[in-house]
Amino acid sequence: MKKLINSPDTVVSDALAGIKAAHPSLSVYLENKVITRAGSPVAGKVGLVSGGGSGHEPLHGGFVGYGMLDAACAGEVFTSPVPDQMLFATKAVDGGAGVLHIVKNYTGDVLNFQMAAELADDEGIEVVSVVVNDDVAVLDSLYTAGRRGVGATVFVEKIAGALAERGASLAEVAAVAAEVNERTRSFGVALTSCTVPAAGKPTFDLADQEIELGIGIHGEPGRTRAPLQPAHDIVATVMDAIHADLPLEGDLLVMVNGMGGTPLLELYLAFNEVTQYVSGHGARISRNLVGNYITSLEMQGFSVTVCRLTDSLADLWDAPVETPGLRWGR
């Protein structure tokens, strides 16, 4: 697998240096591998901190800015960041109104953020954590580490970010984050695996005529293997899985997200299939995102994330945002 890198050991550092150079609206701390809004903290505003392994860009660093995150911690590729980073980020964005930790539901992320929250508490900073766990591909929470946090993370960061920007309290911002998580479900499909730079080869093998259903975002195998089939049929499988868990009705926010290696041409094609499925079920897509938002290096594949909107959630979604990864209204 050809990669545009200098060496596997320096991928994250080299990329962060590029992010720093590209975006003057961000403060990029290269030693700590933390990205914050330039001029942080925003006094009197709840600070939003998230983070995770690198390799999912634009998530999370690309969502730091007005109307969304205040800070993002970058771990090694597909590895959660460490408590030191999270504490550094939390202190950097604490504007006196408390800090929200947005935590994707993976054992590593959960444990490290837990430790960080304790350390922040020791320093007198009020931290509330919200765990995102929208992936319907993980069947049974009782016998697993629980549902993975995937596409809903983007929705949570945007909507909670908007509410924080309006001066809401930590409790209110945390509540809306939890509400978005509750109302959102996702399912992903891979056409290829991906190659972690340090590993040097794909994490798993998929033959030419095979796809992997129910994937996460770390290149690991999914729920089942299936034959390659028309997009129409793949989308039906994806949407059936979501609909079985969260019946599609009313106004929906839908994201068709590329895993990194799938062209926009194909993502729009898939979105067309999604719109037909949704109207076939009597619901309406009132807001959408199509593109690469929460990726898995160069994996070919896509995920669909659906949120059942309320008027107030839609209003928060529409609120201005100015980040490298998402920008409207400003």
Binding site: G53, G75, E76, V77, F78, T79, S80, P81, V82, P83, D84, Y106, T107, G108, L111, N112, Q114, M115, A137, V138, L139, D140, Y143, T144, A145, R148, V196, A198, A199, T203, F204, G216, H218, G219, E220, P221, G222, R223
Partner: protein, 211 residues
């Protein structure tokens, strides 16, 4: 077993983990995200460097610095879990200048208790606990039975190896492998493999010392 012994153990872990890095990554590719070998190698390399710079006069201080450095450097689930294991072991041994076999047995039990509390895993869920729990139990038993050091350490690693091997037919109920459900069956858990390596390093350092 004094501070020097424990520094030697950590150095041996770093060497062994680096040597087995690809193997651990391989295990973690089958049922994970292919970063276990890389993460632990980075962590223990950092620990070795930290110990070279720091003043660690007691076994407890070596274990504490090890645990804290792992938490700061490894990330993922392994960082907090191994970090807590070493930190709890440090707490159990306090500031004793030297440890005898019973003290080491207590430290291993404390490490296990820390891991199970943090990760909420029990035996049979296809995790590092499947190597660490039987190993700590076997070591404690051997020590209680008055075994000589060589025998006690053999019991430790035999149990760890068997435990790690026994994860193969298990379905993962914790961690990233659990997302695969039944597909995780037939693959060894990477955390149990790295635990076995760490305990082998302990046995090898003990064997060298008494040689």
């Amino acid at each position: 077993m004094d501070a020097e012994f424990f520094r030697a153990w950590i150095a041996e872990i770093a060497t062994v983990i680096e040597a087995q890095r690809d193997h651990l990554t391989q295990l973690d590719s089958a049922i994970g995200d292919a970063d276990h070998g890389t993460n632990l190698a980075r962590g223990f390399t950092a620990v070795r460097a930290a110990l070279a710079d720091a003043d660690t006069p007691t076994p407890g201080s070596v274990l504490l610095l090890t645990g804290s450095t792992l938490i700061s450097k490894v990330g993922g689930a392994s960082g907090p879990l191994y970090g807590t294991a070493f930190r709890r072991a440090a707490k159990a041994v306090g500031d004793k200048p030297e440890l005898d076999l019973p003290a080491l047995a207590e430290a291993l039990q404390a490490a296990l208790a820390g891991v199970t509390k943090l990760g909420a895993a029990v035996e049979g869920q296809k995790t590092m606990v499947d190597a660490l729990a039987p190993a700590a139990a076997a070591f404690s038993q051997a020590v209680a039975d008055g075994a000589a050091p060589a025998e006690a350490f053999a019991a430790l690693t035999d149990a760890a190896d068997a435990g790690a091997h026994n994860t193969i037919p298990m379905q993962a109920l914790k961690g990233r492998a659990s997302y695969l459900g039944p597909r995780s069956v037939g693959h060894q858990d990477p955390g149990s493999a790295s635990t076995a390596l760490i305990l082998h390093a302990l046995r090898d350092v003990a064997a060298r010392q008494s040689a």
